[in-house]
Symmetry: C2
Subunit: 304 residues, 2 copies
């Protein structure tokens, strides 16, 4: 089952008229998540028809303002719109205190349960193990503690080809093994390969969100095998010194990361506001990793 990803904001620290600060909306099956929540995210959700009432959880990568200044407003709006369902916020520990002082000042007592799950930037952690998928946080390399988030559909068993199962008189007791990939041995010793007994395996969807980061060597382990990767690309390669100073990445570094983890598709974003157009960022990344899209606010991707 594919994921649906909507880019709510692809800008960096200074918002521009065409790029909101970082936020992405991700739908997995019928569950909707928000990844980061820069200022103005609730308005972008309104514009792009992502209903705030449907959000089950919000993942915050780190506490630079362009990744979370929209959170208090979004939570307040949910309160005013009468939300009753629990909402979970995954992110650095300080979020809780930041929200507490603001809601205390406005004497706001949220009408819905707000749960905080603290992430840790020094290790990969399992955050959610739902029926059909998992969500992990994983370490990135930024000026302050920062994590990425990895969304992975679980590999579902193969579907049996009923006609072949009947033809070879496969006993029920062996079907589970065949669904898991086993071959089948006939009474006469002939081996029927799994591919003849099952439909082609549905490839599980996966998506890694690599928020603000300098190149991070552990990435290749943290998100090994991921199909789609979003990786920040704040600068063109000629500003690689600036990238080092600010713990960000260049287009070439983002492309290199996608290569190293063996991804199928790369999305780049978080462009410095100095770039009015992004075609050069796209083409520079494509010189290393051709399957790249330089995202823009409002783009929607089907991740499979």
């Amino acid at each position: 089952m594919p994921f649906e990803l909507t880019i709510l904001g692809c800008g960096s620290a200074t918002p521009t008229l065409s790029r909101n600060p970082t936020s992405q909306h991700l739908r997995i099956y019928n569950t909707e998540y928000l990844i980061d929540c820069g200022e103005g995210t609730q308005l972008q959700m309104l514009k792009l028809h992502c209903k705030t009432s449907r959000l089950k959880a919000i993942f915050i990568s780190h506490l630079h303002g362009d990744h979370f200044f929209g959170l208090p407003g979004l939570l307040s709006t949910m309160h005013l719109m009468g939300r009753k369902n629990k909402l979970t916020v995954y992110g650095p520990a300080a979020i809780q205190e930041i929200l507490r002082v603001q809601f205390e000042a406005s004497e706001t007592d949220l009408r819905y349960p707000l749960e905080f799950i603290v992430t840790h930037a020094d290790r990969k952690e399992l955050l959610i193990d739902a029926g059909g998928y998992t969500v992990h946080s994983f370490p990135l390399n930024h000026r302050i503690p920062c994590t990425g988030f990895l969304f992975q559909e679980k590999q579902r068993p193969r579907n049996l080809r009923r006609d072949r199962i009947q033809q070879y008189n496969v006993p029920v007791v062996q079907m589970k093994a065949i669904k898991a990939g086993a071959d089948f041995t006939l009474p006469n010793g002939d081996v029927i390969p799994n591919a003849e007994l099952t439909f082609p395996l549905h490839k599980a969807a996966s998506y890694a969100f690599c928020s603000d980061t300098a190149p991070e060597p552990s990435l290749v382990n943290s998100i090994a095998g991921v199909e789609w990767i979003y990786h920040e690309a704040t600068f063109l390669n000629d500003l690689s010194d600036r990238a080092v100073d600010t713990f960000h990445s260049t287009t070439l570094q983002a492309a290199q990361a996608a290569l190293e983890v063996g991804a199928k598709k790369l999305l780049i974003g978080h462009y410095s506001s100095r770039y009015a157009a992004i075609s050069e960022l796209q083409s520079e990344a494509a010189s290393v990793f051709p399957e790249v899209v330089a995202v823009e606010d409002g783009m929607v991707f089907t991740i499979f």
Copy 2:
């Protein structure tokens, strides 16, 4: 010298695609101020060509999110854009702690001096006494402590008519009194009225920003004689019960306030998001106070 007022946001708690939460930009002579700073204000400033670098101070009426959630982002952007000049924030005491925890989490050490001046919602206070004008805060009546802000140009002395001064041989020693409005008595006892000796008095500009409030009896004293008044009008009159519950005003109450203080012009705003169009709000207010404008984001007014 007229003031120039730009409406950056005229919505209420829940932002809509056409109305940002409350914020106004006010230019007095060459000094630029911001009044309230809802989420997205910095983007509205960008869109409406109000330069953040030129802001001298920000006035925050109260700590409901739709009046200040844009403040951390705006202050951060000023920092990133290299601001060096001092910025003063006038508002409730808790602002300082709210900003402290956010900047601490992001390890942001602002590059410019940020001064806090605490306002008090139980009395009228002088905040600024500049050369040509004053700014006061004054009490409003909301669910949490809330003030309005009054901007008043000082009455400048009359300009003398040089031809008449010569004609009547007015001695230098009397000129100050004549500039202040005195008549002049000739040696023969004839009295030359002031109006013959001076140009018509330039009327001093004045503007009162009445943020979220239920009808407030002290207003008539706090802002007596003000020429232009902005007063929130969250609801049409048929929802006056809802206005009471939420410590807001209806169109008729806003119009009544303008009548009572003897204003020349009324601006209304802070409309509930239930109103898609505002023509009915405008006409209802006009039934009591004809000189009313129901403001919209992006409107610019010359206040004189």
